[in-house]
Amino acid sequence: MSVTQPPLRSPEIRRLEPVLEPGHTYASVTDKIAAVVLTRPLGIGWLAGFTLAFLVVMLLFISIAWLVIKGVGIWGINIPIGWGFAIVNFVWWIGIGHAGTLISAILYLLNQKWRTSINRFAEAMTLFAVACAGLFPLIHTGRPWMAYYMFPYPSTMGIWPQFRSPLIWDVFAVSTYGTVSLMFWFVGLLPDLATLRDRAKKRYQQVIYGILSMGWRNSARHWHRYQSAYLLLAGLATPLVLSVHTVVSFDFAVAIVPGWHTTIFPPYFVAGAIYSGFAMVLTLAIPLRKAYGLEDFITMRHLDNMAKVMLATGLIVAYGYFVEFFMAFYSGNKFDVFLANQRLHGPYSHFYFALILCNILTPQLLWFEKVRRNVLALFLMSLVINTGMWLERFVIVVISLTRDFMPSAWGRYSPTFWDYSTFIGTLGLFVMLIFLFVRGLPAIAIAEMRELVHESHGEKGHE
């Protein structure tokens, strides 16, 4: 008859673990998040990190300048491997962006409360990742100033883009994605910019946040329209994010090259995108919460949930790899069978095995709660998965292009210094933008945190 307390580590207790540590008020969450931007002095860690990232961005500028001077011949691409690092990096970066939209839009529609403290910087991550991604198609033409040829404009030549080509779909998908992500992010920021304006003590801060907040005054009517627009944007961003990596996968799947021409590509590209995106969110969230003492807001529950999403999407990706092999042998198409064997035994097989290790084997550790609750292990895991997803794109692009139908058309690919410097340069650009973002804008959505405080008080009231 006696009702016993559930043991401490039982699932009942775990489910109650808060998305926000108890004891916070409207003012305390506002203070804590706004202080990172408004009052906290620049630490040595921030300055050192920013300087390093800035230097790497200089490397990017030098690489692009050299590319413009010499042309794409400075890269390792050749015939038949016309697509090298540029496409690998493009697909990798755009995939990383997907987690931001997933967190801010899909989890919003599903009413997942735990998204609140991570959505803002995940959206920022999306924007910066899309900026890095967009750079590659632009510069891989070798003449980036001609990029406007891709858009349908009335030219004196009287011709139009080929709308039946996935490369043109890509232009529309990525530019729409970038624009919608930017608007979604800005709309989310609007009330927080007003909060910063109201709390700013220094004149320049008042002016900057005053202009950016557009005179937002927290009117109930404004909030009503705001919520309506935000919900609609979330509903629009959800199919959009699924379409973007689908269209990216069409770049491959519509071609007849063995290893690319498969129907599994769209779903498995989308799953892979979310997989790598969540890994990148963890890579950023773990140092961020530590550096700015935000453990109350980004709790173990968030890290645990993200680890579970990674585990789930990682299994979908593993299924994708399996289906690729299965279909190659099931179809009996000799080019597909040959390519599958090339992945296992060809000149780039070590990339393939490294990919399996990073993307399929290591993440299985996430089944264990001990690993999901070990912050350092999660951080390392996120780096492993990011590496694995980069390798996946390398395997897809390079192995297929080096081994297509005719032995006379086979080739080899080895990246040059400039391939690496451009890629590392975009990593620097990404990190630098993140550094600027955490000090210039609230990294956690303040108004949504206040709402969360309100709701958690409400929950207490019902007990």
């Binding site: 800005f186 709390r199 009517r221 329209r225 627009a229 199919p239």
Partner: protein
């Protein structure tokens, strides 16, 4: 009397909890006030309705933007491929509509999103750098932890002394006049 009210925007009552504000808003509405506005640090369910706000055009504007974007997307591709520069490639159809779907879809989303955001801002009359409520010093807390109800001077039932007393009776902690200095 007219001279006086042209400089007075309204009267602002400050509340400590969202529940107090919601009750106050409902009572003010019941008392016959029509021009009410609430200022709150986060959206509160039912408050917009309580101050007499019924319908927002944002979804309709978004729908129009989406339809417009989609038609533009398909129309663009159809016109370019079938009218402006038709290319006969082995007799394949010029209006190859399945291949036009991705761009049509993307432009539908783009059109709807831009209309949603711009429509929301336009209906809210933003950007608007100046508003009389900003003259009240304590109003800065509307973006942190205080909940404000404003009875506007243009309300036919508005009377400075009476409305102030009304707000105080509704447990408003501070009641302040909002002056329009523009």
């Amino acid at each position: 009397m007219m001279e006086h009210s042209s400089h007075l925007h309204g009267i602002l009552g400050e509340f400590e909890t969202p529940e107090q504000l919601l009750t106050a808003a409902k009572k003010a509405r019941a008392a016959g006030y029509k021009h009410l506005e609430a200022y709150i640090p986060f959206p509160i369910e039912g408050l917009a309705q309580a101050i007499g706000f019924r319908w927002t055009a944002v979804p309709l504007i978004t729908l129009i933007g989406g339809i417009g974007g989609g038609l533009t997307g398909f129309g663009l591709q159809y016109w370019c491929s079938a009218i402006s520069y038709p290319l006969n490639i082995a007799g394949r159809p010029l209006n190859s509509w399945p291949a036009f779907i991705p761009v049509t879809f993307e432009l539908t989303v783009l059109g709807a999103s831009i209309f949603a955001v711009v429509g929301m801002l336009a209906l809210n009359k933003l950007p608007q750098p100046y508003h009389p409520v900003f003259n009240v010093e304590r109003f800065a807390r509307a973006s942190t932890d205080r909940f404000f109800l404003c009875i506007e001077a243009r309300d036919p039932k508005f009377n400075l002394a009476e409305s102030a007393r009304f707000l105080q009776e509704l447990s408003a902690q501070h009641v302040t006049e909002v002056k329009d200095e523009a």
